[in-house]
Symmetry: C2
Subunit: 209 residues, 2 copies
DNA sequence: GCAGATTTCAGGATTTCGCTGGATTTTAGG
DNA sequence: CCTAAAATCCAGCGAAATCCTGAAATCTGC
């Protein structure tokens, strides 16, 4: 075999059984080789430095740490790194964040094996691949304004049951300003009220719960 | 090998890569054999009838269908069936529902391989196994009142942005009664307000989002 | 049949929310 | 430097939610 031509792959994943599945599937392909594995953002970076893989398969949810951080750190050091996000969330917020941070693909964990393999090959060939179903989610909300950082901050406090007065004092702003932000949040998300706004934001992956 | 002594296992799972991992891990054990696979509740039942496995590994979230339905259906027909739930949610609500419906174990997908294997053996030996971390989640809310069916119904409508008047008309009850239910929901969940109640219920797995 | 839980209802007090229509300051990007 | 976007502030009104007390009907399990 021409080992030099194999696609080297690093998996970043904290579900052992899923990792085993990746290992088996990749191991069965003569043109691919799993060269390393990491379970946290920190490990991901050091493993990347060690192996310089052609492709990195990464779950966004790594216990406490966020996969995006690992993604940004790796791309900061190796701007050519090809990283495919492999996760369960189909919210447009997470997809956008990942692609903006430089991901080369975004694949759901429910994807069939063959499709996953062909995406790996496609990305290795230099393309940026996002499955139609995922792209559709993205397009659904395209052109609509994102929530600003401040709005997300306010929304988090709403989610946790703070009233407007409490939000104002926590953020050290006036209650009027809080009202203003909330109105914008509800408008942007086309929600009926604050509760609905939280629901929609969570569904879209703009807010964790 | 004494094939007759092998533990026969059915997996019910709609994540192909995860299923592959299960297959590999189980295949590497001489005392176990994966005898079937299903990706939906319906398939789960027919596969169970066909193979009568010693152990069924089941994800609760099967696309649209609910794993609990499959669990109940199987246990209705084969009351001795030993079913281990293998899922990502650690909310006490889901755990309770599964165990009440007759699950023999509840394991998180983040569990290490060895632990998963020993749980399979333990359950096959007739024990009911729930990992300490999962049991802890359960104990945390033990003794606290569950939400009633009506309360869940109301909470769902709150989540979706209905106002009390709308909830009243949808459920065909008076607004006073809606107020009463909401007060009870907020009290039971120790929430600050309706929004917080939704957040807590989702975190605890009492409500989908 | 009875106890306990669930669901239903009234009416009113108080607080909070959502909306209106401006106006100013700060920050980021071309 | 200039403009646009974001964040900040003011004030007040009507609608909605929350909180209270006090009952009664229905359902379920023993």
């Amino acid at each position: 075999m021409e080992t030099t031509k194999q696609i080297s792959i690093l998996s970043v994943e904290d579900h052992p059984v899923f990792g085993e599945g990746l290992s088996t599937i990749i191991g069965s392909q003569s043109d691919m080789a799993l060269v390393g594995h990491a379970a946290t953002a920190g490990e991901a970076i050091s493993e990347f430095r060690k192996h310089r893989p052609d492709i990195t398969l990464m779950d966004l949810r790594l216990g406490e740490t966020d996969g995006i951080d690992a993604l940004v750190a790796i791309r900061g050091e190796f701007s050519h790194a090809r990283i495919i996000i492999l996760t369960t969330s189909d919210g447009d917020g997470e997809i956008q964040r990942a692609l903006r941070a430089g991901a080369s693909g975004y694949v759901l964990k429910s994807t069939p094996k063959n499709e996953l393999l062909s995406i790996i090959r496609s990305v290795n060939a230099g393309r940026r691949h996002v499955p139609a179903e995922v792209a559709a989610r993205l397009v659904e909300f395209m052109g609509e304004d994102d929530l600003t950082p401040r709005e997300i901050q306010v929304l988090r406090l709403i989610r946790d049951g703070n009233r407007n007065k409490e939000i104002a004092s926590r953020l050290d702003i006036s209650e009027t300003t809080v009202n203003f932000h909330i109105k914008n949040i509800v408008d942007k998300l086309r929600a009926n009220d604050r509760t609905h706004a939280v629901t929609i934001a969570v569904r879209r992956g703009l807010l964790q719960i």
